[in-house]
């Protein structure tokens, strides 16, 4: 009996002590109708008419009562791909689709994901001629008399979509007050099981699909002085694939990291230059927050910031890049820059430090509350205030509806996008 019992208990303990390997891979997006040669790309004017706030009439169990729909794009070489993102509040869910025209209908093909867990699946939607496609495809503007209804199905995993989803356009998205939606670590954390690793160039290219208008990235220096993106103080399996290397990233040359280290999804650790190239040339992002994670001179980062700001100006892109000042050590190094007074910066310290550093943005921690009086003081000085890092949907809603901040840093930019764009 004793042996039997020990075997059973040992087996149970072994079973429960095993760590689950969670994954949420993007489903296969094959849809014959969508990929048929008869389907053609949508023009800019057609795409714009689809954006808006929609009530969800069927599928509320999956996505809540409403969704904000907004287009973004990714540029690869000379090719630009457009994506329609559906931002939903429930369970931090979003849908990302590509759109095509087929005869007198519009097809939307993509996938959905719930960020709080691993649920994902295919989405296949249609705007038929009678449900608004005729008006959208016509040359005229959409009026309040036009009804736009998106109908179709969503599924789970790679399964055939079989659950009905129906949305009805109710109003345009809110753009009344400019608001920066800043994705943490280039788009989100690796623990949120996104299609690319945190702080990778690949994730930066995806960030706007998740609702981001800007990104925050973590900058460290390799032992040979190359600025790279990496969050943690040391190499570890939370952020990289197992390779036997240990210790601070500052102990390795860039060549060593480039050769030996791969991020969790297999990407290389990007240099700051690669990251800024991705943000500037491949995305519609218009803000980059460089979170300074290293000690020592920040002149090299300042030089690169200046170079990319000039490139952005030359392109007419309007990309803003701020050097982050998270602590007193970085503040002191920042003040050693000859041109610190005109260097765009985001200061996480006190209002006095914002004044001393001439930072254009004050960025307090969200756990201090709304701080509306302090934010109003900052506005009175012609500066902006971004709050970090909010992930709880209930708090995001409160900070957007009751706060005066000009931007918000989050691992869930899709939730920030929903509450901002759906605001009336």
């Amino acid at each position: 009996m004793n042996q039997k019992m020990f075997i059973i208990i040992s087996a149970v303990l072994f079973f429960v002590a095993c760590k689950k390997d969670y994954q949420a891979p993007v489903p296969d997006l094959e849809w014959d109708l969508f990929n048929s040669s008869a389907a053609s790309k949508l023009s800019d004017s057609i795409r714009q008419k689809i954006e808006g706030v929609y009530n969800i009439e069927e599928g509320q169990a999956g996505f809540g009562v409403a969704s904000a729909l907004k287009w973004s794009y990714t540029i690869t070489g000379t090719d630009t791909s457009y994506f329609l993102s559906f931002f939903c509040a429930q369970d931090v869910s979003y849908i990302i689709c590509e759109g095509k025209r087929l005869d007198s209908s519009i097809l939307l093909n993509g996938y959905w994901r719930k960020m709080i867990n691993t649920e994902t699946g295919k989405v296949q939607l249609t705007i038929s001629a009678e449900n608004g496609a005729a008006a959208i495809l016509s040359g005229r503007a959409i009026t309040s008399l036009d009804t736009i209804k998106i109908t179709g199905f969503y599924g789970f995993g790679n399964g055939v979509p079989g659950f009905p989803l129906q949305l009805r356009h109710v109003r345009p998205i809110n753009k009344a007050k400019p608001f920066e939606i800043i994705a943490h670590r280039g788009g989100g954390r690796s623990s949120d099981l996104l299609p690319a690793s945190e702080n990778s160039a690949e994730l930066i290219r995806l960030a706007s699909k998740f609702g981001a208008t800007g990104i925050e990235i973590d900058v460290r220096l390799t032992s040979d002085g190359v600025p790279v993106l990496f969050h943690d103080a040391t190499l570890n399996e939370r952020v990289i694939q197992k390779n036997g290397l240990l210790g601070p990233i500052e102990n390795y040359t860039y060549a060593q990291l480039n050769t030996l280290v791969r991020l969790t999804n297999g990407e290389r650790i990007p240099t700051l230059r690669e990251a800024l190239n991705a943000a500037l040339f491949n995305t519609p992002l218009h803000y980059v927050w460089l979170d300074t994670k290293f000690k020592g001179s920040i002149q090299q980062v300042r030089d690169m910031q200046k170079e990319f700001l000039q490139k952005s100006d030359a392109m007419g892109r309007g990309l803003n890049i701020s050097i982050g000042i998270p602590d007193e050590g970085v503040r002191d190094n920042f003040l050693l820059l000859k041109d610190y007074a005109i260097t765009p910066a985001v200061c996480e310290l006190s209002l006095q430090d914002v004044a001393v550093t001439h930072a254009g943005i004050w960025a307090p921690r969200w756990t201090l509350g709304l701080q509306n009086d302090e934010v109003n003081d900052i506005h009175a000085q012609g500066k902006k205030a971004f709050v970090w890092t909010l992930d709880t949907p209930e708090n995001i809603e409160q900070y957007i509806s009751k706060g005066n901040f000009d931007g918000m840093l989050s691992n869930y930019p899709s939730v920030v996008a929903y509450y901002y764009y759906a605001q009336q």
Partner: protein, 245 residues
């Protein structure tokens, strides 16, 4: 491929407990010697009170704490109060000063044989915490419910082995950050845990509890101040050490 099971392995664990009980041919109830001391062992109480004091150490997972792997000990006070022959109250207080939890609930316990015993119960728990240091003005509290079942096996030499399975039901979390208060929705299936505890004489009249608890939950109260939203069960291993008074 999606690897996700919202409902944890608790039914399987409970199944094992029940299976062991069914395999017993003998259901003779024999008294465990009263000089033996235990607090996890599921057995009808013969004294009015019994209690233990110790610590529990929970390792925080990297999904929640990222690069910082820490294990903050909680002072752990455990007390039982006899109600009837087979029913007693089980109370538990875990104190970390900045965050604390108290649970209480009834147990029905019975001997299945001279060595095997079983209990079933339900605990209600309330936790609260506050962080008021530089950069934080946060406090939070919430209710949890823990339906549970335990199976105990007594070895010949005053050695008591207990196996406990419980479901974790999160009845809502309320947090306050500065001037903002929010209440999160309840999650009735918030995971579960299994505990194996060994109890034996230690020093003079005192006995010792050594336990391991495997917690799989989408919300563990000691992580409230990190404001995570995960709705996937994450593993929190916990070591339990207690001196039975």
């Amino acid at each position: 491929m999606v690897h996700f099971n919202k409902h944890f392995q608790l039914p399987k664990a409970l199944g094992v407990v029940m299976m062991i009980a069914f395999f017993q041919n003998s259901v003779l109830s024999q008294t465990v010697n009263t000089k033996h001391k235990f607090i996890y062992f599921p057995y009808p109480m013969d004294s009015k009170w019994r209690s233990s004091i110790g610590i529990n150490l929970t390792t925080m997972p990297e999904d929640i704490t990222e690069e910082f792997h820490y294990r903050i000990p909680a002072i752990d006070y455990h007390v039982n109060r006899k109600i009837t022959n087979k029913i007693y109250l089980d109370g538990h207080v875990a104190v970390q000063i900045l965050q604390n939890m108290i649970t209480i609930g009834p147990r029905w316990a019975t001997a299945l044989s001279d060595r095997l015993s079983f209990s079933a119960g339900n605990d209600i728990g309330w936790w609260f915490g506050f962080v008021n240091v530089e950069g934080f003005k946060s406090r939070g509290n919430g209710w949890q419910n823990y339906p549970n079942a335990s199976l105990g096996y007594r070895f010949q030499k005053n050695l008591f082995l207990s196996f406990k399975a419980e479901a974790i039901m999160n009845l809502g979390v309320q947090t306050h950050t500065g001037d903002v208060s929010v209440k999160s929705d309840e999650r009735l299936f918030s995971g579960g845990s299994v505990t194996i505890a060994l109890e034996q004489p230690f020093y003079k009249q005192k006995s010792l509890t050594l336990g391991f608890r495997a917690i799989y939950t989408n919300f563990y109260w000691q992580t409230w101040s990190l404001f995570e939203n995960f709705d996937r069960n994450i593993f929190y291993p916990q070591i339990i050490i207690g001196l039975i008074l």
